[in-house]
Amino acid sequence: MDFPILSVIVLLPAVGGLVVLALPRRRTELVLPVALALSLLTLGAACRLLASFEVGPAGFQFQEQVIWYEPWGVSYHLGVDGISLLMVLLTAFLFPIALLASTAITHRVKGYFASMLFLEAGILGVFVALDLLVFFAFWEVMLVPMYFIIGMWGGERRVYAAVKFFLFTALGSALMLAGILALALLAGDQLGRPTFDFVELLGIDLGRTAQFWMFGAFALSFGIKVPLFPLHTWLPDAHVEAPTAGSVILAGVLLKMGAYGLIRFNLTLFPEASVDLMPVLAALAVIGIIYGAVVATVQTDIKRLVAYSSVSHLGFVVLGIFALTTQGLQGGVVQMVNHGLTTGALFLLVGMIYERRHTRRIADYGGLATVMPVFAGIFLFISLGSIGLPPLNGFVGEFLVLLGAYLSLPGFAVAAVLGVVLAAVYLLWAYQRMFTGPITVEANRGLRDLGFREVVLLAPIVALVLLLGIFPKPALDRVGPAVQGILDRIEATTDYVVPQFGTEAGLPEAEVRP
C-alpha cells in the first residue's frame, strides 16, 4: 500500500481540532489562522487526490484496509470512486471558506473552530468509509460538533433547533444501525463469516423482503438527512438558527451525505427494492421540489427562503438518483456539487448582509443595489446559477436530471420542470424586493459594500459556478464510470433495463427511427 492519502485527509482536520483546543486560552487571535491553515492543508491533500485519481476504471481507488476485529468482520476500509471524490473535494473546498466566514464568532472561539474541524473530519470520513460500521460511526459522531455549532453559536431559538436537528437525525440512523447489523449477520450466513465490508456485501444475495426492509431503514436515515419530503421539518429551523458558517456547511455538505448514502448504499445494496420503489421515491422528490419552491416563495425571511430552496433543489437530486438512468444519476451527482456551491454562497451572502443589518426580513431591505453594487451583482450571479440559467452550473445538473428522469419517468420530469420555473420566481422576486428600486429603509443607506475578505471568500465559488457551467466535462468524466457501475449492477441483479435515448418505453425502436 502506498501513501494512505484518504486517512490523511480524514485525520488532518481532526488533528487540527485538537491543535486548536490545545492553543493557549489568551491567544484567541491564533485560532482562525491555525484552523484555516489545517483546512487548507486538507484541501491541498484533496487536490492531490484529484490529481492522482485515475479517470476511466470503475470501482474504488486509493483503498486502504486494515482488519480490526475478525469475529465481527469490521475493518478500517477506505476508498473513493468518482462520486465520493467529488464530495470530498466539495467538503474540503467549502470548509476553508466557511471558517474564513466565521469572523463574527467572538465568544468561545476555540470551541467553535475545533468543532468545525471535527465536523470536517467526520464528514470526510462519511464520504470515504467503505465499511458500514465505520461509515455509521462517522455518520453519527458528526452530529455532536454540528449540535454544538448550532446550539452554542446559533440564533435565538438555537437550543430548540439544535436538539431537533440532533434527534431527527439520530432517529433516522437508529433504524439504519439495525439494518447494518442485520445485513452483516445475513452476510455471515452466506459467506460463513459476518462482514461489514461494503465491497464484500455487494457479493451477497439478499432476499426480496430483506431488501425492502433494509431499503426502508437506510432510506429513512438518508431521507431525513437529504431532506426528503415529508422528513424535512428539521431543516428550516436548523438552517435559520445556525451561524452563517454552520448553514453553509449544513446546506453545502451535510445534506449531500443523505443523497450520497442513497446512491452508495440503497441503489447498490438493494437493487431490487430500488427498482420497485423508484416511483415512490421519485414522487416524494417531485413533491419536495414543488413544495419547497412554493414555500420558499412565500417566505418573508431570506434565510428561510434559501433553506426551503434547498428542499426543492435536493428534490432534483433525489429525482435524478431514482430516475435510474445514466443521465439522471450523473445529473444528480453534479447537482449535489452545484447546490453545495450556490446555496453555500447564498448563505454566505445572507450572513454578510445580516452582519451589517442584523435582520433577515426581506421587507427590511430594498434598493440595496445602489449602495452595495458588488454584493448585488454577486447575489444575482449566484441566484442565476441556482435557478439553472445557462451557462452557469445549475443548468448542467438540472438539465441532466430532467433528461434522465424523462427517459424513465416522463410524468415526473414534466412536473419537476415546474420547480425550475418556481426557482426563478422565488429567487428573482427576492432579488427584486431586496436590491432593486429606491432605498426604502433609511438604515440601509449607509451600508458598506463587500470588503476584501468577503470578496476573497466568494470569488472561488463564483469561479467554480462559471467553470462547471461552461466546462462540466471533468466532473462528468469522473462520475461517469461510478454511475455506470451502479446501473450495471442494477441491470445484472434485476430485470430492469436502463432506458437509453431512442428506446423510449412503449415505442418500438423501429418506429422512432425515420
Binding site: 469490521v74 459522531v141 455532536v144 437550543v159 440532533f166 432517529l171 447489523l181
Partner: protein, 485 residues
C-alpha cells in the same frame, strides 16, 4: 489450584476489613491509614483475580469448597472489574468518608465488604452461596445509602432500599427453594448439579421449576434495577449521599448481572427456551420505561437512575443471546459501570458529596464555571447515549449484534428507538451545562471544588470511555474467554 487460593480475593478483602476495623479501634489512625489498608486489600484481591484469570480463562471452571465456589474466566473477570471499581468508588467518595469523622472507617469497610459480596455473587457455584454473597453485598449497600444519617432523604433512601431489597432477597430465596424442589440440588456444577440434571432429564411437569426460575429472575432483576422491579432505584440514587451513589449504581449492576448471567446460562442453560423470552420482555420493558421516565426528570441523579434502568435493559439485551452474548454483556457492563461511576462523581462535585439531590439548575452554565468537569460529563453522557468513538457505542453495537444474531430483531429495534429518545435527556443535561443563559447560573459557585480522588476517577473514566470507544477490539477479544463453564 489450591482450594484456599480459589477464595483468595474474598479472603484478602475480609482480612483487610478486619484489620481496618481493629486498627481503627486500637490506634485511631488518620484517614490515610484507612486508604492504605483498603488500597492494599483491593490491590491484593485484584491481583488474585488477575492470577485466576491468567490460569483459568478459556478453560473449564475449577469448582472448589464442595462445589460452592467456581474459579473461571467469568469469576476472575468479575473480580478484575469489581475490585478496581470499588477502589475508584472509594476515591470518588473519599471526601465524604473523611467528612464522617471516625465513622469514616466503617464507611471504607462497608465498601470493601460490598466488593467482597459482589465478587462472591459472581463466583458462586451454589445458589445458597450466591444468596450469601447477595446479602453481604446488599446489606453493605443499604447502610452506605443511608450513611449521612442526619439527612432525612438519606434515611428514606436507606429504608426503602432495605425494605424492598429484603423483599427481593426473599423472592430470590424462594426461587432457590423452588429450583431445589424441582431439581434436587442447589449446586450449579458437578454430577448432581442443576445444569447436569436439567440437561439430562425431561421434566413433564415443569411448573415448580418455572416458578422458581421466574422468582430467581425477579429477585435478580430487582438488584440490577430492571423494570418493572426498578421503583427503588430513583429514590435510592437521589437520596444516597452524592459521593457513594456512583459505587452503588455501578457495583449493583456488575454484581447483579454477573450472578444473573451465571444462573441463567450455566445453571438454567438447558432451559434457555423458557427464560430467553422472559429476559427479552424484561429488556424491552426496562429500556422503554427507563427512557420514558428519565425524560421527565428534573434532577440529574434521578435522571441517571432512570437511565440506569434503561441500561439494565440494554445489558439484558445481550443475555437473550445466551452464552453467545456473555462477552458482549461483560463489555457493556464494564464500560457502563465506569461511565455511571464517573457521571455520579461529577454530580457529587456539582451538588456536594453529602447531598442527595442534584437538580438540573445546579448544572446551569457548568461549561463556563468548570470547563473540565462539564467536558467530562458531556463525554460520559454521550457515551451513555451511544455516540460513536465512545465505549458506549461499541457496547451498544456489541449487545445489539448479539441479540440480532439470536433472532431478536424486534428487541433491537425497540432498544434503538429508546436510544434515540434517551439522547433527548442526555442532551438536556448538556444543554443546561453549555447552552443555558448566563443569568441562570447566577449564585452558583464558580468552579466547584473537586477532590484529587474524584479527579482521578474522572480521568480514568474518560480515558477508558475514549480508548475503548476508539479501539474496543482488544477487550472484546479478551472477553470471549469470560464464559462460565
Amino acid at each position: 489450584m489450591n482450594a484456599f487460593l480459589s477464595a483468595a480475593p474474598e479472603v484478602a478483602l475480609a482480612a483487610a476489613v478486619v484489620l481496618l476495623l481493629m486498627v481503627e479501634v486500637a490506634f485511631k489512625p488518620r484517614p490515610a491509614a484507612w486508604g492504605a489498608i483498603a488500597g492494599a486489600g483491593l490491590a491484593a484481591a485484584t491481583g488474585f483475580s488477575a492470577w485466576q484469570w491468567a490460569a483459568y480463562r478459556g478453560a473449564d471452571a475449577g469448582v472448589f469448597w464442595h462445589q460452592t465456589i467456581a474459579v473461571d474466566g467469568f469469576a476472575a473477570f468479575a473480580g478484575m472489574l469489581v475490585f478496581p471499581l470499588a477502589a475508584l468508588g472509594l476515591m470518588s467518595a473519599w471526601r465524604l468518608a473523611v467528612s464522617q469523622g471516625r465513622r469514616g472507617a466503617e464507611f471504607v469497610a462497608l465498601v470493601l465488604l460490598a466488593a467482597t459480596g459482589a465478587h462472591l455473587m459472581a463466583a458462586a457455584a451454589d445458589l445458597v452461596v450466591l444468596f450469601i454473597g447477595l446479602e453481604i453485598f446488599s446489606i453493605s449497600l443499604y447502610v452506605l445509602a443511608g450513611f449521612t444519617r442526619e439527612r432525612v432523604d438519606a434515611d428514606e433512601a436507606s429504608l426503602k432500599y432495605f425494605l424492598l431489597g429484603a423483599f427481593a432477597s426473599a423472592v430470590f430465596l424462594y426461587g432457590v427453594a423452588l429450583v431445589f424442589a424441582a431439581t434436587g440440588s442447589t449446586k450449579i456444577y458437578g454430577s448432581g448439579g442443576i445444569a447436569r440434571y436439567l440437561a439430562g432429564t425431561i421434566i413433564f411437569r415443569p411448573g415448580v421449576l418455572l416458578a422458581g426460575l421466574a422468582l430467581l429472575l425477579a429477585g435478580m432483576a430487582f438488584k440490577v434495577s430492571a423494570a418493572p422491579f426498578h421503583v427503588w432505584a430513583p429514590d435510592v440514587y437521589q437520596g444516597a449521599p452524592g459521593g457513594i451513589t456512583g459505587f452503588l449504581a455501578a457495583s449493583a449492576k456488575v454484581a447483579g448481572f454477573a450472578a444473573l448471567a451465571r444462573v441463567l446460562t450455566a445453571a438454567l442453560g438447558p432451559r434457555a427456551a423458557d427464560w430467553v423470552p422472559a429476559v427479552a420482555v424484561l429488556a424491552a420493558v426496562s429500556v422503554v420505561v427507563g427512557t420514558l421516565l428519565a425524560i421527565v426528570q428534573d434532577d440529574v441523579k434521578r435522571l441517571l437512575a432512570y437511565s440506569s434502568v434503561a441500561h439494565a435493559g440494554f445489558i439484558l439485551t445481550a443475555l437473550v443471546a445466551g452464552r453467545g452474548g456473555l462477552g458482549d454483556m461483560w463489555f457493556y457492563l464494564a464500560t457502563y459501570a465506569v461511565q455511571v461511576l464517573g457521571a455520579f462523581t461529577v454530580a457529587a462535585a456539582v451538588s456536594g458529596d453529602g447531598a442527595g439531590r442534584s437538580p438540573l439548575r445546579h448544572w446551569a452554565g457548568l461549561g463556563r464555571r468548570s470547563p473540565w468537569l462539564a467536558a467530562t460529563m458531556t463525554l460520559l453522557l454521550l457515551a451513555m447515549g451511544g455516540i460513536p468513538l465512545t465505549a458506549g457505542f461499541a457496547g451498544k453495537v456489541a449487545v445489539f449484534r448479539a441479540a440480532i444474531d439470536a433472532g431478536y430483531l424486534w428487541l433491537v429495534i425497540v432498544a434503538l428507538l429508546a436510544t434515540v429518545a434517551g439522547l433527548y435527556f442526555y442532551l438536556r443535561v448538556i444543554v443546561a451545562m453549555y447552552l443555558s443563559a448566563p443569568e441562570e447560573a447566577e449564585g452558583l459557585p464558580c468552579g466547584p471544588p473537586v477532590g484529587w480522588g474524584a479527579r482521578l476517577v474522572l480521568a480514568v473514566a474518560s480515558a477508558a470511555t475514549l480508548v475503548l470507544g476508539v479501539a474496543p477490539w482488544p477487550l472484546l477479544d479478551l472477553l470471549r474467554h469470560a464464559l462460565p463453564l
